[in-house]
Structure formats: structure tokens, C-alpha cells
């Protein structure tokens, strides 16, 4: 389980970075989304793997998964969402103002 989990996290980070390195705002956003997914999943792995023990206090149950991790991820997810949304709007506006959706500072040779 750990192996595959780690692999998944790694993949998300790798693909995310790759997309961020492309030259369109759209791809950038995609990359960022993947990256934040990766980060969240990574944190999830930090509280070790426990299945079927949701952290809801139920009488008679003493074993729960690490609730703190979940709290952290929850915060992270929401923050990530805010940032992504802003980035999306920004990319849109930048396209409207500059006539191309390049992520670079200087104008493209032939604007899209």
C-alpha cells in the first residue's frame, strides 16, 4: 500500500511540475491543481495508513486514524481552491488584456 501511495504522490508531483513548466496559463493551472492534489495526498500518507476507522467518536471504538492530518488537508484543500480560482480568473483577464495566454513576461512573436 505505502509503495503505491508514494508512487501516486510522486506521479502527481512530477506531472504537476511538468505541466507548470509549459508555456500556457491553462497548462499552468492544470499543473498547480495536480501539485496541490499531490501535496494533500502526501500529508494524508503522513498519518499512517488506517482503513475503516473514520475519526468520528463512536462509543466502544478506541482506534481512529490520525485526525490532525485530515484537518490539515482540509485547510490545505480550501486554500488551494482559493488560489486556483484566482489563478484561473487572472489567466483569463491576462488573455483578454494581452491577446495571448502565454505565461511569459514579453509578448509572443505571433500572439494567439
Amino acid at each position: 500500500m505505502e509503495l503505491l501511495m508514494a508512487l501516486a504522490v510522486g506521479t502527481l508531483f512530477g506531472t504537476g511540475l511538468y505541466l507548470c513548466l509549459r508555456r500556457r496559463t491553462f497548462q499552468l493551472v492544470l499543473g498547480m491543481v495536480l501539485l496541490s492534489h499531490g501535496a494533500n495526498l502526501l500529508i494524508l500518507n503522513m498519518g499512517r495508513i488506517r482503513r475503516g476507522l473514520p475519526p468520528l467518536v463512536t462509543d466502544g471504538v478506541t482506534e481512529y486514524t490520525d485526525p490532525l492530518v485530515q484537518a490539515l488537508i482540509l485547510t490545505a484543500i480550501v486554500i488551494g481552491f482559493g488560489v486556483t480560482a484566482f489563478l484561473l480568473v487572472l489567466s483569463m483577464r491576462s488573455y483578454q488584456e494581452n491577446g495571448d495566454d502565454s505565461v511569459n513576461i514579453e509578448q509572443e512573436e505571433q500572439p494567439h
Binding site: R51, G52, P54, L56
Partner: protein
């Protein structure tokens, strides 16, 4: 007994998810992909149901409901997009 069966059922559903994903990958058209996504969501719903049987906890049902909603929303959104382009109208 139910648990064990649920486990096998999960495997089967997982397999069908693979099929969906294959469709998602192949396309060829956007509509196909959207359809695949929709199906994926539906499969996920059943996965969750089975899982909650397997683990014997009802904590997951809210998520289940939401996924049902989301799948639908997603499909509608894409469909609208394909039809009109702009989804806010």
C-alpha cells in the same frame, strides 16, 4: 459473509472502472469522455457503498450522495459547454 462478497464485488467494480477509464482515455469525442467520467462517478458511488459494507461504517454515505450530485453536475456542465460553449447563461 456479506463482507467477503463485498470484497469480490469491489474487485469487479474496480475492473469496470478500468473499462471506463479506458474509454476516457480513448475518447474519441469529448462527449465520450464526459460519458466515461459520468460512469466513473456512478461506479465510484457503488464502490463507496460496497466499501461502507466492507468496513461496516455508515460514515461514508454523505460523500456518496455528494458524488452522485457531482457526477450529474459535471455531466450537465460539459454537455452545456458542448452545446452552447458558455456554461453561464
Amino acid at each position: 459473509m456479506t463482507q467477503t462478497v463485498a470484497n469480490y464485488c469491489l474487485v469487479v467494480v474496480a475492473f469496470s472502472m478500468i473499462l471506463c477509464f479506458w474509454r476516457l482515455w480513448r475518447g474519441p469525442s469529448i462527449a465520450d469522455r464526459a460519458l466515461a467520467l459520468d460512469t466513473l462517478a456512478v461506479n465510484l458511488v457503488s464502490v463507496i457503498a460496497l466499501m461502507s459494507i466492507l468496513f461496516g461504517t455508515t460514515a461514508y454515505f454523505d460523500a456518496l450522495l455528494v458524488i452522485a450530485v457531482i457526477g450529474f453536475l459535471g455531466t450537465v456542465a460539459v454537455g452545456k459547454y458542448l452545446l452552447k460553449g458558455d456554461i453561464i447563461d
